[in-house]
């Protein structure tokens, strides 16, 4: 007996496309998504512009101008984390998750599609935020004494380390989003998930910076997600960094992967 029209056997690429389309529709049609992406861009560019406007050369000539211009990422990531946490936890708070999993019984495919869509929008917003920040640095820094006379060239995307820092910062935001999504998948509740994510992002660096033990301080700087991931922004004194730029981003990627694996595993094992 056949049930024409009831079950559509779709090929694998079609299923993937449908899953992506469903996740895109869910994310696109919630008003908070637009606001959060906008605040991620505004907070990043705002803090970066403020910082580049404050820092003056004769006093802080040792500064790494690229890193200074990208300071806002440290605040913008909070909005990105909220976006990624809500992408998963709002399904649980509205019980939408049951509909989602009925339509897409392959749970890991659903998680992968969600991760892909969230990564996509964060990459787009992150690129705007980073370009805006660099532009602010290019505008403000020469006026504050970071001139050729002190050995500074205007920030430019023809400078390979700057390109690495800029592209790396966009990737950093994407990895933060994936990490947050993984944590939210494991914990389900938006409040608990965002507390854990921001605790790991913000509290670890503060404690690591204050710890009175060089050995432990170095460990914190090498392995806490924010300190390690932001090593990608350094363009000066690379030899003195606790962790190299790409290795640092790798550590953050490991955090994100671990969170997604844990989330994915729990998603498969638990009832929705």
């Amino acid at each position: 007996m056949s049930w024409p029209g009831l079950v559509r056997w779709s090929s694998a690429p079609e299923a993937a496309r449908d899953a992506l389309h469903a996740e895109w529709t869910k994310l696109r049609t919630v008003p908070s998504t637009g606001w959060l992406l906008l605040s991620a861009i505004a907070l990043t560019v705002g803090v970066s512009a403020l910082t580049t406007a404050i820092v003056k050369c004769p006093a802080s000539c040792g500064a790494d101008t690229t890193k200074v211009s990208l300071t806002g990422i440290e605040l913008g990531q909070a909005a990105v984390a909220v976006l990624a946490v809500l992408a998963m936890s709002s399904e649980y708070s509205s019980s939408m998750i049951r509909v989602t999993l009925t339509a897409m019984p392959r749970r890991s495919a659903m998680l992968a599609a969600k991760a892909a869509i969230v990564t996509g929008v964060v990459l787009a917003a992150g690129a705007l935020a980073v370009l805006g920040s660099l532009l602010a640095g290019r505008l403000f820094l020469p006026g504050n004494g970071f001139t050729a006379a002190h050995g500074f060239l205007p920030l430019s995307l023809y400078h390979a380390p700057t390109v690495r820092a800029a592209a790396g910062s966009v990737l950093y935001l994407a990895l933060i989003a994936l990490f947050s999504l993984g944590v939210a998948t494991a914990l389900r509740d938006s409040g608990v998930a965002i507390t854990v994510v921001l605790g790991l992002l913000y509290v670890l660096p503060v404690i690591g910076g204050l710890i009175l033990n060089p050995h432990w301080e170095r460990r914190f700087q090498r392995y806490s997600p924010m300190n390690a991931g932001l090593a990608i922004q350094a363009t000066k004194g690379l030899g003195k960094l606790p962790i190299g730029p790409w290795e640092g981003l790798g550590v953050l990627a490991a955090w994100a992967l671990a969170a997604l694996l844990a989330g994915g595993l729990l998603l498969r094992l638990r009832d929705a």
């Binding site: 409040g191 965002i194 913000y202 503060v206 204050l210 009175l212």
Partner: protein, 528 residues
């Protein structure tokens, strides 16, 4: 035919009252009966204690302790100066006129001459128990930038006449000893005297040393930049010119003799000059000259409490940040979960006066977090203290602090108050935003993010951040006493806050009150 009489039903229950006490009880019941919140609160208290103890356990003091003098009462002190002295038997007095105070910094030229006389360069008269560094003293002095001061036993500091000294506008100083009591006077003309202060120095021997002194603290160039933060001290000297010196009570047969106390004034001729730039010449050596009743005394060093840069106990208590974010989450959830479950409609039906609902919630949340935070901090304090002792943070620089001393209570009660008001701020934001994720993020960004930004910004904006944001309240955890009469680099990076501890807490309270005010206004205006 009789019609049965229908008595309308009346509940035998007393009619409910909508007093504020009932409202508090209702909110307490809401908190108490959600098991996750109670577990979360206990966990937050436990994490506060655990993280603090863990930080104390890792805090190693590997630097060799600087040699400091131990002053009266065990206070760590810098006691280096050039002393021109005579013994003074029993009661007596010393009077002097100061006509100038000049100074020099062993500066590389880029500093300019602006800091030539240090604000806390000191020259004047002193009565001191002995020439041993750290012994009891009382002194009247003219300073580079803080006018006339009377200082005693390192921590005491009383202001006298303001202004700087010059030949046209000299200052007269006098110290009088009667028994153990020393009184300081100042005067602009030598005839009209004003009492500045009186102090009783316990255990002063009958014969003390009295005389003239000069000392000048190092010029501290503190920089905090994106690249690093650093403090470089440059040696300085100052030179005071005195005349009309009169000593009553001195023993006959004694002349003035000079001594560099604590090595003070073995002048800082070590120069830090950038390569290729000309340096100012070496500083003049410490010493004194006397001719025709006119004295000049040149000295270097300081007579002041010693303030360490690192504040181990304050840094250790940053472990409470982990408890803080848990309590922020609970504070926000206390209201956002009402919106999520629709409970808010029941709450507002039962108590239509909406402002009072929010105030009741704030009181319940604040009290519970305060109690939990107090328990966590009070348990952690003695353990952290003893761990720091065994890790090399020892007296006199890092004095032993009891839980019930002024500093101990400030740190412990302050930590609990910080957690409580932080949770109330999160509650206010939660009432405004109605969504847990947004509210928790906003509260964490307001309270914790400034601490991160302050470590990367240059010093001045970083200090403004620590004055204006709710993070100013972390100053409550400062366990090192900062004295206004000691110029030391105050970096947020080292856990030093520009506002006095309880003023910093007032900043957080102002944020919480403002947040609650806006939240009450919005709660009244909007539909639930």
């Amino acid at each position: 035919m009789t019609t049965p009489v229908m008595t309308p039903y009346r509940s035998s229950q007393q009619p409910g009252r909508d007093g504020f006490a009932q409202l508090l009880r209702a909110e307490w019941t809401k908190f108490r009966t959600v098991r996750g919140w109670v577990i979360g609160m206990v966990a937050a208290a436990g994490l506060t204690a655990l993280a603090t103890v863990a930080l104390a356990g890792t805090a190693q003091n590997n630097n060799s302790l600087p040699s400091v003098a131990t002053g009266p009462g065990g206070v760590a002190a810098t006691d280096t100066f050039y002393f021109v002295h005579q013994p003074m038997a029993k009661d007596g007095s010393i009077t002097v006129r100061v006509t100038s105070l000049t100074g020099r910094v062993s500066e590389p030229p880029f500093l300019g001459g602006a800091h030539a006389v240090q604000p806390w360069a000191k020259a004047g008269i002193i009565i001191k128990a002995s020439t041993r560094p750290g012994s009891a003293y009382a002194a009247m002095m003219i300073t580079g930038g803080h006018g006339v001061r009377m200082q005693y036993d390192f921590t005491g500091d009383v202001a006298g006449l303001p202004g700087t000294v010059s030949a046209a506008s000299p200052r007269w100083l006098r110290l009088t000893r009667v028994g153990d009591e020393i009184t300081g006077y100042d005067s602009a003309d030598g005839t009209h005297w004003t009492k500045v202060g009186a102090v009783s120095l316990t255990g002063l021997p009958s014969t003390v040393q009295a005389g003239l002194f000069a000392t000048s603290p190092p010029y501290l160039l503190v920089r905090q930049t994106f690249a690093n933060d650093s403090g470089v001290g440059f040696g300085t000297v100052d030179r005071g010119a005195f005349d009309h010196v009169s000593l009553q009570g001195g023993s006959p047969g004694h002349a003035w003799s000079g001594a560099a106390i604590g090595g003070g004034g073995a002048s800082g001729s070590k120069l830090n000059c950038p390569p290729g730039q000309p340096c100012a010449g070496p500083l003049p050596p410490a010493g004194f000259t006397a001719s025709a009743g006119t004295f000049t005394v040149t000295g270097s060093g300081d007579i002041a409490p010693y303030v360490p840069i690192v504040d181990p106990l304050g840094v250790t208590f940053k472990g409470s940040l982990i408890g803080l974010i848990a309590m922020i989450a609970l504070g926000a959830l206390f209201i956002t979960s009402e919106y999520r479950r629709g409970m808010i409609r029941t709450t507002l039906t039962a108590s239509p006066r909406r402002g009072r609902v929010l105030v009741a919630k704030a009181i319940v949340m604040g009290s519970v977090t305060f109690a939990a935070g107090l328990a966590g901090a009070a348990v952690a304090f003695p353990i952290a203290e003893s761990k720091l002792r065994s890790n090399g943070w020892v007296k006199p620089i890092y004095p032993v602090m009891s839980l019930f001393s002024g500093i101990g209570l400030q740190v412990v009660v302050g930590t609990a108050a910080l957690l409580a008001v932080g949770a109330v701020l999160a509650l206010a934001i939660g009432a405004l935003l109605r969504r847990s994720a947004g509210a928790i993020t906003a509260a964490i960004v307001l309270l914790v993010f400034p601490l991160i930004l302050a470590t990367v910004l240059p010093m001045t904006p970083a200090q403004w951040l620590m004055r204006l944001t709710p993070a100013a309240a972390f100053g409550l955890q400062q366990a090192t006493v900062r004295y206004p009469q000691v110029s030391s680099g105050c970096l947020p990076y080292h856990g030093c806050y520009p506002l006095a501890p309880w003023y910093g807490f007032a900043v957080l309270c102002a944020w919480a009150v403002a947040g609650l005010g806006v939240a009450v206004y919005q709660l009244r205006r909007r539909d639930a």
